[in-house]
Symmetry: C2
Subunit: 213 residues, 2 copies
Amino acid sequence: MNSVAIARIDNAGPGAPKTARGARTRARILKAAEEAFGTLGYHRAGIADITRAAGVAQGTFYTYFAGKEQTLRELVRDMGHQLRAHLEAEIAGARDRLEAEEKGLRAFLQYLHDNPSLYRVLQEAQFVDETIYRDYYEAFGRGYVRMLADATRKGEIRPGNNEVRVWALMGIANFLGLRYALWEQDTPFDDIVATISDLFRNGLAPGGDKEKS
Amino acid sequence: MNSVAIARIDNAGPGAPKTARGARTRARILKAAEEAFGTLGYHRAGIADITRAAGVAQGTFYTYFAGKEQTLRELVRDMGHQLRAHLEAEIAGARDRLEAEEKGLRAFLQYLHDNPSLYRVLQEAQFVDETIYRDYYEAFGRGYVRMLADATRKGEIRPGNNEVRVWALMGIANFLGLRYALWEQDTPFDDIVATISDLFRNGLAPGGDKEKS
DNA sequence: TTGAAACATGAATCGGTATTCATATTAAAT
DNA sequence: ATTTAATATGAATACCGATTCATGTTTCAA
């Protein structure tokens, strides 16, 4: 009885699978959780919804996850990695920072359109445990600031407070994504990117455009 | 028994108070709900938390509100009105659109700092009932687009897709507010406004500043 | 003053759901 | 083939919190 209890406790953590079968099952559950959280939302989604979609019994969930919240945590981490990897690949060919911003924004909009769960999972995580959310954006922001610093050094953008800029840029992408990639696709991504590109190249103020390369 | 049931049902709605005392109580409950939702979050905040803070019994809550969700709905409406009224007043003296954007951003940051509940209540509403959130931003956006259209007509800003711009601008304010007004106040609002103002006046691209008035 | 409507109470109800557990089944090693 | 660890099961548990309701108290008009 005692040994059983200890075994349970040791097992309480993530319980990494030790078998191919286990790995498959765990992955199925995680994907099912992403879908459930993404469509129903974190609170409305029950463990039952997740396990039903994964095709396993409710108890199986706890073989691999310590609870609902840990699952959300892991999902945010995974989805963040995926997104970042995707964006980095997409902006790889850019000649300069402004072009990278254009490519990055377009890629982000498209990615959100194709993976709508990302937005909801991430935003909801904010209210389940704020540190999940903060960590995500602070990590994202740190990398972004580094890129802007490089660009400043290369003379591709004006000197300025790059940290503030980064949060502004993340806000732009976030809201445009919500409005034009998730809610209504009534404006072509090209138009959106062109509008924001014009903002970055010329600002909002009137007056002659700057020289183009 | 039947008449009682009917009376209950008729009463189920908002149950507008008919007495000064009732009005006071309702207002106390609403303010308590704002605080509870703002600090604990919508899901964690229980009716008991609200009524305790308001100094009334749990049942009293249902004398004035149909339920937890309706309360959130009403809060978002109220807080939205307040914020908009405040911002309109703050940008009233602006000479042109760019100055209005500066004043508006500074006022928004300050308002968020002073009323931190706004952010959380609004953002969480998104996942309780998306229409609450959409309505809020679409209403906000409509007014904003009108202002940019005016500014375009007056030649204060470059022609462009003002709807896209508005969503970008709302995103900027939102993220800067979250980062610099709610999370860490490590950067003076003046610096933030100056950075964003430079973005609006000159873009990110290098090259000579435009003429100043 | 009095009676009815409005307001207030708080304990009980009631539904829901995250988590546990005793019990099978399956996979790999000896 | 046998044994043991890993996986899987799903009903039972256990808790939580939104809502209700029978009852008491206050307000206010007549």
